[in-house]
Symmetry: C2
Subunit: 176 residues, 2 copies
């Protein structure tokens, strides 16, 4: 997963993976079938063990505060110097280079997070934390849209530091 995250699917060779993991080539093929299967498993692992815990915050706090914490988390992560983006979203620009299966995993992942944000926003609306006239589905899309922006804009080493400043703008747009 780490190598795919760092270099992307196409620029990651099996030899890279074997070297990095110390695994045996044959047993890797036995376990994962082929490179696509391996990548698919890497996506699953990323979802379940790396990024899942990070958006758990939305499950535990399905309200405005949860969205705030989630966004802050994303923005602060991107401001770090070793930022590698998101294994899933990193591959959106090369959607047809990965397997259709993997592309669907990526799509499903993004949709899932967006849906968590929407639930939180709907609750926030019920709580009176955001206006009753707000379109929560659209706001959720906008939040995830901004996460996508973070994934790419965060690669500009000299500019990424401004990302946390966007937090107030986006939250204002959600609240008011």
């Amino acid at each position: 997963m780490g190598v795919f995250w760092q270099n992307g699917y196409k620029a990651t060779s099996i030899s890279d993976v074997v070297r990095e993991t110390g695994l045996n080539t044959a047993s890797m093929y036995k376990e994962f079938g082929d490179k696509e299967g391996l990548f698919s498993a890497a996506l699953d692992h990323y979802r379940d063990h790396v990024i899942g815990p990070r958006y758990r915050i939305l499950i535990d706090n399905p309200n405005l505060e949860g969205v705030e914490m989630f966004l802050r988390n994303v923005f602060l992560g991107a401001a770090k110097s070793e930022y590698k983006g998101c294994l899933m979203m990193n591959h959106l620009a090369q959607k047809h280079v990965i397997s259709p299966e993997a592309a669907e995993q990526v799509g499903a992942f993004c949709a899932e997070v967006e849906s968590l944000v929407e639930t939180a926003l709907r609750n926030a609306q019920a709580d009176g934390d955001i206006g009753p006239d707000k379109d929560t589905a659209q706001l959720a899309s906008f939040v995830i849209f901004c996460v996508h922006g973070t994934v790419l804009y965060g690669r500009h080493d000299e500019k990424k530091h401004v990302i946390p400043n966007f937090y107030d703008m986006i939250m204002r747009e959600i609240r008011e």
Copy 2:
């Protein structure tokens, strides 16, 4: 350029390029040196002949209206079904897979567009079209941040259609 745009640097082979262009392998190497040189030239061509004319709108209209037209243009482009993103920004997630030279071209391109937006916003501020307390540099960053978001979010075929809806939110954030 088309193949690099469609598949990305790493997933584009010289044979692909030769097949697609009908060029001779040897003359291609003579002209561009190697694959990296070819990619670099593709980036230049994209900048000068594909995307340049599209952000010319910012040069011709260095004011709020120019920013509005630019953003609308970007958003409408992404909503199209054959959307391929931006050749430059597409490669941000694979920055260390392309040559340092190419990576710098990408960075310079993004910085240039951002600077055009900032100039336009500064003029808009002078025109009284946006508040005098607004941080135009930060707003310009936010606009380009959203363009980055578009490049990735626009790859979700089932969701991209909502992108134009973000236009009002972003412009409100700029104006008010």
